[in-house]
């Protein structure tokens, strides 16, 4: 998106992203990958409840959401996020692949689904468009 910077130059501002996954080690890697790809990671959450709270507080444009969360099912969280005002774009991720979830992915309000091993700047760009 275009914005005016303090010094008057016109530049692009990075897309804000909320990262939700219950595995801390994975979050570190994912954050590094997202930042390297030019996204602005504004927050992290380790379960469904804090994901919803952070989304409300930070108003990210994109939420990268793990399906297997300890408290609420990831699809439920996606639905809840989508029902709020000005819903973010949701990308579902999982260690399992899409065929393990069948029709649930198609029925969810997410923009796309990525198997964690395939997570890369290229895939994200394909789903979201350019990062900034």
């Amino acid at each position: 998106m275009l914005a005016r910077c303090f010094d008057g130059t016109i530049g692009r501002v990075a897309t804000t992203v909320l990262l939700v996954d219950d595995h801390a080690g994975f979050r570190i890697q994912a954050r590094a990958l997202l930042v390297a790809a030019g996204y602005d990671v504004v927050g992290e959450a380790a379960d469904g409840a804090s994901a919803l709270a952070s989304a409300r507080a930070l108003q990210p444009e994109v939420v990268v959401l793990d399906v297997q969360l300890p408290d609420i099912d990831g699809f439920e969280v996606a639905r809840a996020l989508h029902e709020g005002p000005d819903p973010p774009t949701i990308i579902l991720i999982s260690s399992r692949d899409a065929s393990d979830y069948g029709g649930r992915i198609v029925r969810s309000p997410a923009r796309g689904f990525v198997t964690k091993t395939e997570l890369s700047a290229g895939i994200l760009a394909a789903i979201l468009g350019p990062a900034s």
Partner: protein, 599 residues
């Protein structure tokens, strides 16, 4: 309803009271004396009213018939109160003879006070038939109230009735103040209340009839028939009195009326007698039971003999003392409105009979029937014990299978949360590493690092396959149709899914069908040399059925290590069936059917 448990003796020896012969003799003598006095007294008494012989005879005999038939019933059924109640009716009737004794007191008491007492005792008898006891609170209150009312309604007008003024032979021993008009009014008023009581009594009787089972009605029927003429007679008397309808009064007072009343004791006696006629059928029962037994045969036969279709037998397990039916399922012997009779054999209680309380009205028949069926009951009890054990084993097999499934789900979850997550994170880290390689080392290091990445991804895929083999996530997420679809996609041999039901089914059922298909498709790929396989799954109201067919070489054998034996065990453990048709050279068809409730 009160509980009527009675112990049935296990061998010979009759328990229960026998009417003492001395008592019977005394009562019989009193009855004869009363009858004689009744017949003779009018002729030798102070009264010079003309004696109508037919009427006298009919009156006396009908009163006495209650006494004598009551004695017979008492002798035959000493523990049943119907006999004593009938005797009481007869005596209450005969007490009126006091009126022949020429004193004021006896005249007053005999002719006026005691006049209707026998009717109240008769009502008591009606409501207590056939067990001899008043069963419901309503009945007890009605009869109690009737006795009290009799006393009140007989005494009240008497206090004001002036005998001499009416020209009768004696003085009123209870006269308080002479006021014949008041006595008259009181008499009519009390008659009205009595009429209402009579209606209440009739409604109670109707309730008894409606509530009775067919066993009960058999015994009640003769009484009902005999009492119709009597009922008409009583009602017409009461209403005739109250409303002063002369023709009705005359008819009621006539011998015809009294004759109608005397049908009654016969009705009671026949009702009691009826059960005796069932005795000969016990002999047939013994012969019938000698033949081959189907479960439930004993119960049907007993129910027929005792004429109680609601009868059932509960067998008592020797170990736990719990009760089961003939199929080994546990049952309760407590039942609303039913009586329980224990059956003993070999010194312990082996079963309990749950039946209509009316059956207890003939304990001799019950005893004989039980004795005749004891051997068959013992046999069925043994069979029931075995079936109960089988039931327990079946239930434990289901629990084992379910525990296994639960465990597999747990292992898959742990794999996902632990090893898979770690490897995935590692994979991401290696990619990052690759992206950050400085330009100068890229030519030498790029390839090895890429290779490392690929190897790691392969390891992750294998782990994922392993996890799927342990428990497929899609089965839990989406159900059997999607899971089987996913199996078909991954199969080496092309698979066509002909039918698969949408919707969810019990976990154990879905898991079993899934593993049948998985194992069959694996066998097809390994052994069958087939070009094609088909899978069809059909859901019915109670089962899920699956067919897996291929066009391979056939010859599949359950006894070799193809995993089919394990499949059969698993399917049978939750109550299903699995069959294999595999003629040599003609392909294989595996059919399994799994019920929803595992029994």
């Amino acid at each position: 309803m009160t509980d009527h448990s009675q112990a049935i003796p296990s061998s010979g020896g009759v328990r229960g009271t026998r009417a003492r012969p001395g008592l019977l003799l005394v009562l019989a003598t009193a009855g004869v004396a009363g009858t004689t006095i009744g017949l003779v007294a009018p002729f030798i008494s102070w009264s010079d009213a003309p004696v109508e012989v037919p009427r006298l005879v009919v009156n006396t005999m009908s009163g006495s018939s209650f006494t004598f038939l009551g004695l017979y019933a008492f002798a035959k059924r000493p523990e049943n109160n119907v006999g004593p109640l009938m005797i009481a009716v007869g005596f209450a009737y005969m007490l009126q003879l006091l009126g022949w004794i020429p004193t004021d007191l006896t005249y007053t008491v005999g002719v006026f006070l005691l006049q209707e007492l026998w009717l109240v005792v008769l009502a008591h008898l009606f409501l207590a038939f056939p067990t001899g006891r008043l069963e419901s609170r309503f009945d007890r209150r009605l009869v109690g109230g009737a006795y009290v009312w009799w006393l009140v309604s007989a005494t009240l007008p008497l206090l004001f009735l002036d005998f001499r003024a009416n020209g009768w032979a004696f003085d009123n021993a209870f006269l308080v103040s002479s006021n014949n008009d008041l006595a008259d009014a009181l008499g009519r008023g009390t008659s009205l209340v009595t009429a209402c009581l009579a209606l209440a009594f009739l409604s109670a009787l109707l309730r008894h009839w409606r509530r009775a089972t067919s066993a009960g009605r058999r015994v009640l029927a003769p009484v009902v028939w005999a009492s119709l003429p009597t009922a008409v007679w009583v009602i017409s008397r009461v209403f005739g009195n109250t409303l002063r309808i002369e023709p009705v009064n005359e008819l009621a007072g006539s011998p015809l009326g009294t004759l109608a009343a005397s049908a009654l004791p016969v009705g009671f006696a026949v009702g009691l007698l009826r059960s005796r006629l069932g005795r000969s059928r016990v002999g047939d029962l013994v012969v019938e039971l000698g033949e081959a037994q189907a479960p439930g045969r004993v119960r049907d036969t007993l129910a027929g003999i005792l004429r109680d279709p609601s009868l059932r037998i509960a067998y008592r397990l020797s170990g736990s003392g719990a009760y089961v039916d003939e199929a080994g399922r546990s049952v309760s012997i407590e039942a609303e409105g039913q009586a329980v009779t224990p059956i003993e054999g070999g010194g312990e209680q082996i079963a309990a009979l749950v039946h209509d309380p009316a059956v207890l009205a003939d304990p001799d028949l019950l005893r004989s029937a039980v004795a005749a069926t004891r051997l068959a009951v013992e046999n069925e009890r043994l069979a029931a014990e075995v079936r109960a054990q089988l039931e327990e084993v079946r239930a434990s097999r289901v629990r084992i299978v379910e525990a296994g499934d639960l465990e597999r789900r747990r292992v898959e979850r742990n794999l996902h949360d632990g090893a898979q997550q770690r490897l995935v994170t590692l994979s991401l880290a290696i990619r990052q590493l690759r992206d950050r390689l400085p330009d100068d080392v890229v030519p030498t290091l790029a390839e090895p690092v890429d290779d490392l990445h690929v190897q790691l991804k392969r390891a992750i895929d294998e782990l994922r396959e392993l996890a799927r083999g342990i428990h497929p996530a899609i089965l839990t997420e989406e159900g059997i149709a999607a899971a089987v679809g996913s199996l078909a996609e991954r199969s080496a041999v092309p698979v066509r899914i002909e039918r698969a039901p949408e919707g969810r089914f019990p976990d154990a059922v879905e898991a079993t069908v899934y593993f049948v298909v998985a194992e069959c498709l694996a066998n097809v790929a390994k052994y069958a040399s087939a070009t094609r396989a088909t899978v069809a799954i059909v859901a019915s109201e109670a089962t899920l059925a699956v067919d897996v067919a291929d066009d391979g070489v056939g010859g599949a054998d359950v006894t070799t290590g193809s995993g089919l034996r394990g499949l059969i065990d698993r399917v049978e453990a939750i109550g299903g069936r699995l069959t294999v048709e595999s003629p040599e050279g003609a392909g294989t068809v595996v059919r399994a059917e799994v019920p929803f409730d595992g029994r």
